[in-house]
Amino acid sequence: MVKSMGIRIDPDKCTGCGDCTASCPFGLIEIIDEKAHINEGCTLCGACQEACSYDAILIEAAIETAAISDSHRGIWVFAEAKDGNLKSVDYELLSRGRELADTLKTELCAICFGHNISEVEQLIAYGADKVYLTDDPALANHQEDFYTWELTRLIEEHKPEIVLAGATSLGRSFIPRVAAILKTGLTADCTELEIDTERRLLLQTRPAFGGNIMATIICQTRRPQMATVRPRVFKKNPLEGRKGQIIKVDFNKEGITSKTKLLNFVEDLTERVKIEDADIIVSGGRGLDKAENFQLLEELAAVMGAAVGSSRPPVDDGWIPYSHQVGQTGKTICPKLYIACGISGAVQHLAGMQTSETIVAINNDAEAPIFEIATYGIVGDLFEVVPMLIAKLKG
């Protein structure tokens, strides 16, 4: 038997046909002397097993999935609040979470930390069967130490099988800590979530390499299966006449003190209209040439009631603050209308805006990749086109 970790090739069955070599996402299978040979680095993903017509590939790690999944039930959504207001991503996750919970025939719960949070019942309207609400002045701000320990404690007590959270500044910072304490898997920035019903597994698809590659990831043997999802990836779907339960949880501060202390928060006030909430975004890139030229986009944004966004180069050069940045290392947005001015459309930028309903591109380079995804493209100098648009919209 040729053996490499938990995967074996049965030499009696293997015909050396080579179907498996092409199926391996990592290119680890070679045909040597008319038998398949698996090189080091196999992740036991099973792609080759599916590709093999002769049942010659055996994976021994078909593992304790069942045992584990039996002890954990339910889908949880961490519902983030800031200054007592829930975030749009909470509802987006609940809407998708509702569908996943129905597929698994299990309950959907929202977990909410904060102080004096308004409209908590909205979490039920968007799909939650139960809301675990921990309301305490100590949780009013994003005290990440408290959030980490409280979420961990609740997960250990109630044992959900899936935990989802927004890939926001907060989520990306404290959710990995929860996963590390629980020694379970976490997949960042998912763009698709599906269920393998047979194995009760969450299929988590995410971009890697700056959006050039998509990968589907599972967490087979540990629970809960945890994932963060970028805002605006899923659509909000309010449901009629839903009923649910709000369960108040006491925050037990005894014996714990937050190690880190939030001393101050300074809001970025240049952002008159927040790009994550805007229906229309006018965005500028390297083609703007210098900081002062953002003024032109401000003007267009003002006549359209739009927010101003940016690709990465203007932020790198200090023309506009980071809070305006759209893309892989900035914000993901999904407005009704996105107008890209002087943006070439690097894949990292596209990753942040390509789901916008309508995309307009204005760029003097006809070969710019932004035109490939633009609904309407104008090949021309933005310094000519934008003033024309402003004049016509005003007129």
């Binding site: 092409a22 589907t216 599972i218 980071y322």
Partner: protein, 261 residues
């Protein structure tokens, strides 16, 4: 101040493609580099050392050729480097990686601060920093854009969040991840390059780290990649024609027709 900086060697481009014939990543001709976000971590480590004294130790987990990134770290300010390399570490996800890094940092023993880049450009998860902090059981601050003060076992930092920035105080030792706004990394000095060239890079294997084999590499990983594929790009849209004036006119009409404006 003794500082540990964590580095990763990554492909020098994100323009990787999947070979449509074999469905595998095309890796030929791609040069490896230091993860760009980690260069800010090395620089910040060097600056803190210059202000407060101490030393900077750079560590990297990876195959033997990952020693290249450690040589680069020497040329730009690291005093000591350690490569964590063992075939047992192959296939690590963020959980197994942070466990392995934590074992190494515990073995280093004397440290006041651990600095990581905000995320890598290949995996893009931003998870190793926070998972490492929790494995070491020390405080964590993400997205640090400025170190305001270090005094008496405490550090005060600014960090960038979605809608502005926060000022946070943390006791030391702690783990922080840094963003590119924090500094402009220096170029290697001639002396640094010479030192880097001749440096002997110590390697710690699974045995030297005394790791639990079930917690490293593939067996220590909670997640598995089961499929990779190229993303579906949206459609090619309509390029407007005519004079710029008429294109602008036509664009506004189209947007008005679809009630977008």
């Amino acid at each position: 101040m003794n500082i540990v900086v964590c580095l990763k060697q990554v492909p020098g481009t994100t323009q990787v493609k999947i070979d449509p014939q074999t469905n595998t990543l095309v890796r030929q001709g791609i040069k490896n580099i230091v993860n760009p976000f980690d260069t800010y971590a090395v620089e910040e480590g060097a600056r803190i050392k210059e202000r407060f004294g101490g030393k900077v130790t750079a560590i990297s987990m990876g195959p033997p050729q990952a020693e290249e990134v450690l040589r680069e770290a020497i040329s730009t300010g690291a005093d000591e480097v350690i490569l964590l390399s063992d075939s047992a570490f192959a296939g690590s996800d963020t959980l197994a990686t942070s466990y392995t890094l934590a074992r190494a940092i515990n073995k280093i023993q004397e440290y006041d601060l651990v600095i990581c880049g905000r995320q890598t450009i290949d995996g893009d998860t931003a998870q190793v920093g926070p998972e490492l902090a929790e494995t070491l059981e020390i405080p964590f601050v993400a997205y640090v854009s400025q170190i305001e003060e270090i005094d008496n076992g405490y550090m005060r930092v600014q960090r960038m969040v979605e809608d502005g920035h926060e000022v946070i105080e943390t006791p030391l030792p702690a783990v922080i991840t840094v963003v590119k706004e924090i500094n402009v990394p220096r170029l290697p000095s001639l002396r640094g390059l010479t030192k880097a060239k001749s440096a002997v890079i110590p390697t710690w294997t699974a045995k030297e780290l005394g790791v639990d084999k079930n917690m490293v590499g593939l067996s220590g990983s909670a997640t598995r990649v089961i499929k990779i594929f190229s993303p579906q790009r949206a459609y090619r849209g309509e390029i407007l024609q005519g004079s710029l004036e008429s294109q602008a006119e036509s664009l506004i009409n189209k947007l008005r027709d679809t009630k977008l404006i």
